[in-house]
Structures are given as structure tokens and as C-alpha cells.
Amino acid sequence: MQIFKYKYLVGLCMVVISMTSCKKDVIATYDVNDVDIEDKSLIKDRSKSNKQFISILYTTLHQKAISSNQLIRTERVIESFGDKALINEVIVSNYMNSGNVVMPTDEEMRADLDSFVTDTYKLFFVRIPTEIEKAFFVNYIEANPNITPELVYTAFASSDEYQFY
């Protein structure tokens, strides 16, 4: 008899708990826009192959596609050297010396630094710079009169981010 009493009591408690514990979530709205806290354009986790790197680099700097012969020859030169970062820098420097690179003049760069920095990020990294990035480059170029577009382009072309897509 005593056992039946406890059974009823436990059953009653279960019913009360199940009725009071499960409630539908109230979705709060705060009238704020959704914002991505991580810049997805920064997620580049695939390394460019030698062929991809050189054809993209050539197009970036010359604003036209590299010929297939030139692509193969350049790719072989990259393969012939162990330190890819180093040999890529030499290739960039070789292009810079050719006089065929399409880039703004020093005056054009300094006339509108904001646009130059944004355009350079778009050209090399296919994304717009963050405010911190833009501020760094604008301040750095303003503070250093000997910085030319060529030096900026060289820094971008030899950066880690440019090796990835």
C-alpha cells in the first residue's frame, strides 16, 4: 500500500516537471543588422600552383594574359629553384625592370592614397582592405616620401596572402 502511494507521488512530480520545463524559446530582436564577425575574403587556404601563381602575377602586373610559351618557361625556372618565395621575388623584380608593368605614377598614388590602397588590395588580394589595413598603408606611404607604387606592388606580390586563394 505504501509503495503505491510513492508511485503516484513520483508520477505526479514527473507530470509537473514536464509541463513546466519545456518552453518555446523567445526570439529576441534588437533591431541591429547581421554582421559577419569574420572576414570571409581572408579565408584563403589553398596554395597557388606555380602555374597559377605566375599566370595571375603576370596578368596582375601587365593587365594582359601571359603567353603559353612564356608561362611554361617561367614555370620551369620556378621549378629549378628550391626557395619559391625567393625566386618569385626575383621574377617580380625582373618584371618591374621590364618597363611593361601597368601601375600608377608616384603622383597619381599620392593624389588619392585611399583609392590607391583600396585598388591595390583589390588587384592583388581580390578583396577590399579593412580599416586598419587602409590606415596603415595610407599613414606609412604619407610618412615615407621614398615609397613608390613599385615598392608597394612588390610587397603585395611577395606577400604570403598572394600565394593563396
Binding site: R73, V77, E79, F81, E89, N94, M96, N97, L151, D160
Partner: protein
């Protein structure tokens, strides 16, 4: 100090030195395990499959073409008199038969007399890539695939990790970029890998016509006014991107080393344009060109280790006469290089040990392909003759004029060379302890 304190501190110091690895300023984890035997090593992966019969056994045509003419066509390296008939291995004077003028001997004392010869050594792998991988890793490399980095660490990685060498101390000068050779400058092993890899260069391409087009007009930026801002901006960009260490493929030199290497590239192009490159008396492309550029690398960087890969001999598949010429030229080039080190690079003269070993032999029986002299070619398809090669070593602390083993008494294997180099640089125990050496591998010094 009280006796009790002294005993306690001495005990703690002893326990600490046993329990923790010895971390040196260079970042390496292990102290040297034996005394160094030389400051520099030149390690020659000698040609691309060499038969014992035409090299160390000095049989010339008698061991291959049923023509009873023997003789030594590698007389800078080996003791022995050259053939006196049917000379095809030399240079070609005007209006004379091809190869009829032997190249004069360069060394007064052969490398064999200067050092140690193992005339009968086991080649653990009968293919080019597998054979070269074995020569560089000390591992049999049976599960090694093509077009991938070696599975086991290379001698470059052992030396950089355990001996603390910089990237520019360690060079691999290759005969080309075929057969996955550029991948041999480091393994893909997770504890070693490209972080400890060697600088690789294939001079026939880097400084050949393609290199002239792509590299020779590179600017040298002013260190303070131009390079410094480039570094500063790039550092900012790299900090923003923050990739993990090792995600950028290939080996990396530090900025000082990079500047040094870029200067070398520029100066080498200038030397090439002005005919100022060093080189053996007989030119002619291929291995001799590779040897000439290896000399430039050694003169400029004084590397701790230079690995030189030659490959022209592989023409033996279809041109036996060309094979003899390639062997003769490789001997000429190596004799010249050894002399160049002793006379033109004072920092390395008398402080360099040279090792030379073919990566594999060639078959006992010929294939059906005949050359201009109706002589048959030889492949390397894995018969017992393919597994027969020789090893040679000369330099400080190497016994002179000594032969270990004979045709009927095989002593040594191609994997021994890695452990030998490890011993030369004082890290033999560390390399053995890493656990990748092929079973039974020994330092050649321990084979004596």
C-alpha cells in the same frame, strides 16, 4: 656553501641534464655526438646508372661488346691505364672520328690514391629516383612514390635540424628538373620536412636560356631606401594574413640569406655574359655545365654540404658510345672540381671531404638498341648487376690509398653515405636514433 646544499644542487643539475635535451642557441635539440671530421662535404651522386664493368672494373669494351679491349676511362678518379684502341670516349678533333681524342688527365694523384675506395657496394634500389632517394635518405625507400617528396628525412634535414645549419649552408645542385629531382631537397616527414630542406638549383635551367629571360634583368633594390620599406609593408601584410608555419610550400631562407642568394644570381648572370664563369677545360653542356655552376655555388657560399647530381650517363639506354663519353667527362669534371676546391676556394681547401657513388648500376646483358659504332645499350631493370656500384671518399681524416672490399667481397651499401656524412659532421648517433636508416647501414668509416 654547505655540503648538503652542494650535493642537492649538483644532483639536480645532473638530473636536469639527463632529463632534458640540450637546446643550443642555433635551436637544435641535440649536441654533437662525435667529433667532426671535416668542415665541408661535397657529395656526388655520380651519373645516372653506372656499370661496374666500364668504371671500377676498367673493362672498357671487353665487359659489354665482345671486343677484347680493356682500360680505365676515369683516370682522374681511378688508378689504371686507359684503353689504347677504339677510342670513342674523348673529344672530337676536326676531321677525326667522333670522340677519338682522350681528355688529358687533370689530377697528378687520382682521387683513389688520395682516399678510400669501396669497389663493390650494394645499390639498394635499381631506379633513378629510388636510388637517389636512398643515397639522400639512407633508407631503402621501397614504398617511395614518384612525384612526391621522400618519405624519410634527407641528409639535408638531419644536418639542419640536428647540426643547426642554415638553409644557405646546404645546397643541392641538380642536373635538371625531370624525374622529380627538385623534390629531393627535403622529405615530407612531419618532424623534418621543408623547414629543414636544402636550397635546390638546376643551373641548366636557372642560368640557361629560360633563366636569362625570366631572371637575369632583376633589380637589386637599395637595402635601406627600398628593401626596408618592402620588408616593412610585407611584414604587415603577412601579419594580417597569419598563415600557419609550413603552409607555404618549399624551403625558406631568411632575409639576409635571400639578399645574398639574389646577389649570387645576379653576379652569376653577369659572369655568364662576360664569359667569367669557372669551369672544366672541356665544356660541352650537360654534366660539365652542372659541375661548373656547382663550383660557383661553392665558391660563393662555401656550403657545409653540396650535393651534386650528374645524369648524362643515363644515355646508355640507347647510346653506349655516348655513355662512355659521359663517364669520361664526369671523371674530368669531378677531377677539375676537386682541384678547384683545393686551389680556388681557400676556405674549403683541405677541409672538404668528397664522396661519390652512382645511385645504381646497369644490367649485365644489353638491350637490342645499337649506336653509331654498332654497340649495344644497357638498361637498369633490376638484375644483380644493377645492384652493384662503388663508393669513393677523399679528404681530411679519410685514409689514403686504401681499398675496402673487392669484386668477390661486397662491402658497404649505398645507404651508408648518409650515415658517413652524419659522422663527418658529428651527428651520427642523432641520425641513427631518428630510426630511418636501412637495416645494416653503417658509416663507411665503420666499414674499414
Amino acid at each position: 656553501m654547505k655540503r648538503r646544499d652542494f650535493v642537492k644542487k649538483a644532483g639536480l643539475t645532473a638530473a636536469g641534464s639527463v632529463a632534458f635535451p640540450y637546446i643550443l642557441p642555433s635551436g637544435r635539440l641535440f649536441a654533437k655526438t662525435n667529433a667532426e671530421l671535416a668542415d665541408h662535404v661535397l657529395y656526388v651522386l655520380f651519373a645516372g646508372g653506372v656499370r661496374q664493368q666500364e668504371s671500377v672494373l676498367q673493362q672498357y669494351l671487353s665487359g659489354s661488346q665482345n671486343v677484347d679491349i680493356g682500360g680505365n676511362i676515369m683516370y682522374n678518379m681511378l688508378n689504371g691505364t686507359p684503353p689504347d684502341k677504339k677510342i670513342v670516349y674523348g673529344t672530337t678533333p676536326a676531321n677525326e672520328p667522333t670522340g677519338s681524342l682522350p681528355i688529358p688527365q687533370l689530377l697528378n694523384t687520382t682521387i683513389q690514391s688520395q682516399g678510400l675506395l669501396f669497389p663493390e657496394v650494394e645499390a639498394v634500389n635499381g631506379g633513378h629516383y629510388g636510388g637517389m632517394t636512398s643515397l639522400l635518405t639512407g633508407n631503402r625507400s621501397t614504398a617511395q612514390g614518384l612525384k612526391v617528396r621522400p618519405n624519410s628525412p634527407t641528409i639535408f634535414e638531419y644536418l639542419r635540424r640536428h647540426r643547426g645549419f642554415k638553409a644557405s649552408d646546404v645546397w643541392f645542385v641538380g642536373s635538371g628538373i625531370g624525374n622529380s629531382f627538385p623534390l629531393l631537397n627535403s622529405s615530407g616527414h612531419e618532424n623534418y620536412g621543408t623547414e629543414y630542406g636544402a636550397n635546390f638549383v638546376a643551373p641548366s635551367i636557372t642560368f640557361g636560356n629560360e633563366g636569362v629571360e625570366v631572371l637575369s634583368d632583376a633589380k637589386i633594390y637599395h637595402p635601406q631606401e627600398e628593401l626596408e620599406p618592402i620588408f616593412k609593408m610585407r611584414e604587415f601584410l603577412n601579419n594580417s594574413f597569419r598563415i600557419k608555419n609550413g603552409e607555404v610550400q618549399g624551403i625558406r631562407n631568411d632575409e639576409d640569406e635571400k639578399a645574398h642568394i639574389k646577389k649570387f644570381i645576379r653576379e652569376t648572370f653577369i659572369k655568364k655574359q662576360t664569359n667569367g664563369l669557372a669551369g672544366p677545360p672541356v665544356q660541352g653542356g650537360g654534366d660539365l655545365t652542372t659541375i661548373a655552376y656547382a663550383a660557383e655555388v661553392m665558391k660563393y657560399f662555401k656550403p657545409k654540404i653540396t650535393v651534386l647530381n650528374l645524369g648524362n650517363v643515363d644515355g646508355c639506354h640507347g647510346n653506349f658510345s655516348g655513355y662512355l663519353r659521359a663517364l669520361h667527362r664526369a671523371d674530368h669534371g669531378l677531377g677539375w672540381l676537386w682541384n678547384y676546391i683545393q686551389t680556388e676556394i681557400p676556405e674549403m681547401a683541405g677541409k672538404t671531404i668528397m664522396l661519390a657513388t652512382p645511385e645504381c648500376g646497369r644490367n649485365l646483358n644489353p638491350n637490342p638498341i645499337q649506336d653509331e659504332n654498332d654497340w649495344y645499350g644497357y638498361d637498369h631493370s633490376g638484375d644483380a648487376n644493377t645492384r652493384r656500384v662503388w663508393s669513393m671518399m677523399a679528404g681530411p681524416n679519410v685514409p689514403a690509398n686504401m681499398k675496402v672490399g673487392s669484386e668477390s667481397n661486397q662491402i658497404g651499401k649505398t645507404t651508408d653515405n648518409v650515415l658517413t656524412i652524419a659522422e663527418i659532421f658529428g651527428i651520427k648517433d642523432a641520425v641513427l636514433g631518428a630510426g630511418f636508416m636501412d637495416g645494416g647501414t653503417k658509416s663507411l668509416f665503420d666499414r674499414i
